[in-house]
């Protein structure tokens, strides 16, 4: 029982991070109707930025996160301006391929700057270990949960009260109406990319603290897609619920089934894809997504 609860708790922390990555994806999708396959690459960049600011520059954690967000905002704006804006009005495939290609370029740039080696800053993040009876909550999990909650609250406030957040929600609803109300849609697109990039980078810093950073870390993006599909592709609340669900399920399944499988298992890596296939076959629009009705 202790083993099970331990798996659930670490899974919960992991799930919060997945949810965070998925939120970045959903924000871009809702605002600009672009499927951003490169969300995992943002996470990877975030991990490396965390390494640079925490280890190389010896910044305190809050300053490192702020600095990383600064870089992320510039990066998001550049990406939107250079690669996505020329494609406004193009087919979905073109946009998806563009984000894939952009992700490849980001991986290349990360390899160029950081050498593509495995880097770790384990222990640099503050260590607070909580004990609940026999259960211990690892510090990274705790930080993950705290940061994720803070980010979600900030985003909620932004979308509910700030003018720009309201404009973004309006854009998600109807672009033409928004334009006639005097809001510049391209600016909204740019801001959605900046926010998504920042959220990705923050989750990258958390994940980097848990498991270290390398270029292949971008594969975590795939887990975020499983989260997005499970939660419903256009629902931020769904992303949070599904993220936690997937994190816990994955951790529990891997914890119990991996010893039974030949070749050492590695179930955690394919688990999201199994979820993707099941969700797509049974409930393509996810738990909280809107069902699309199409006309000719």
């Amino acid at each position: 029982m202790t083993f099970f609860l331990q798996l659930v708790i670490t899974g919960f922390g992991l799930g919060m991070v997945y949810a965070l990555i998925a939120i970045g994806f959903v924000i871009i999708l809702k605002c600009s109707k672009a499927f951003n396959i490169a969300q995992g690459q943002f996470v990877m960049i975030g991990g490396y930025l965390g390494y640079t600011f925490l280890i190389t520059f010896h910044l305190p954690v809050w300053a490192a996160i702020l600095a990383a967000i600064g870089v992320a905002i510039v990066l998001g704006a550049l990406i939107e301006r250079l690669t996505l804006r020329p494609l406004i009005g193009q087919s979905a495939l073109a946009i998806i391929m563009m984000t894939i290609a952009m992700g490849t370029v980001l991986e290349g740039i990360a390899t160029l700057i950081w050498g593509g080696e495995y880097k770790t800053y384990h222990g640099v993040l503050p260590t607070i270990t909580l004990k609940l009876g026999e259960l211990s909550i690892p510090p990274e999990t705790l930080i993950g949960i705290i940061v994720a909650i803070i980010v979600v609250v900030i985003l909620m406030v932004l979308f509910r009260y700030a003018k720009i957040g309201l404009a973004m929600r309006a854009t998600a609803e109807d672009e033409q109406v928004v334009q006639s109300a005097g809001i510049k849609v391209t600016t909204i697109y740019a801001i959605s990319w900046m926010i998504a990039c920042s959220v990705g980078v923050i989750s990258g810093i958390i994940l980097g603290g848990v498991s270290g950073v390398m270029v292949s870390m971008s594969e975590v993006g795939m887990k975020a897609f499983a989260v997005v599909l499970l939660g419903g592709i256009d629902s931020i609340g769904g992303a949070i619920v599904a993220g936690i669900m997937l994190g816990i399920l994955e951790n529990v399944a891997a914890g119990y089934l991996d010893p039974l499988l030949p070749s050492g298992g590695g179930l955690a890596n394919v688990f999201p894809f199994i979820v993707i296939i099941i969700v797509l076959t049974l409930k393509p629009h996810g738990l909280f997504g809107l069902t699309r009705i199409e006309r000719i």
Binding site: T83, Q90, G116, S263, N269, V270, F273, L280, I296
Partner: protein
Amino acid sequence: MTLPSGVFQESYAKDMAVLRTKTQWVLLLAFLLLLFTIPLYATPRVLTLSTFIGISVISVLGLNILTGYCGQISLGHAGFMAVGGYVAAVLAAKLGWPFWATLPCAGLSAGLVGIIFGLPSLKIKGFYLIMATVAAQFIIIWLILQFRGITGGTDGISVPRPEIFGFVIKSKSSYFLLVLIIACLATYFTKNLVRTRVGRAFIAIRDNDLAAEVMGVNLLRYKLLAFFIGCVYAGVAGALLVNYFAFADTQMFPFSDSIWYLGMLIVGGMGSTTGAIFGAVSLKLLDEAMTIGGPALAAAFPAIAAQAAASLSLIMRGLIIIIFLIFEPRGLVHRWELVKTYFRRWPFAF
């Protein structure tokens, strides 16, 4: 139209022919002659490159049927290649089947796996379908690694040299000719497939699947057929790849290759057989240029030497797709048509 002036067809069959003038026949035969004589004057390196180009052409032709004609985007093409490759490898190595039997089996099994993962395509499309095919790629590779007893897991599996009716294909040139023949057959089949009822149904589904259904196109049947045919090509290409190395390993079918095949399709031009071939050839040549250019670049900038070669390939691959998406979304084949039209109409611009 794409014909020179003064060409008149007198029968319906002539009007439907792919090659309609004597010049086209002569050019095609000359081109084929050039291809089949490559082993006579090519260096081993060029021959290896040409073999890989041939294999990619087969694979991308399949992806073109699935994505370019039927509109079902697949990011799991390397996974389907892995199915074909491993089926060929296991049948040849464990059961001792001859090459002429393993190749069709590889194609068929990849096609069947394609049907399984294509099943969700009836309900979903666009991004959802892409994720289903990405899932296919990773699940296939994981399953191959799990069935250690059959596939050798991470150690890979050795494959005996292919043998056709007593003739063992050992040399590079004979293997190149084998790949070339299959690539030519694949091209011929694709070119004609898309002109049939099935091909037109694919195009109707791509342009608007709801409208196609209203017109009486059976969506499930034709989408699965597209998955089947596209994955048969992938399976054959995978089997050829495995037989070339005489070794099968999951590292030979990475996810990045799936992306790269789609990139070839975009660079070449979607929904065009010529485009698929253009894309495969040009991007394989680009890859080769990067394997040569990478070390040169590393020598030029010793400060970033270790990373330069690895990152150059990634950055170039991404950039080339970005550039084509922004500046030439219709691909190289569109340029090629423009050039051809220019010369046909010369000296007039219209």
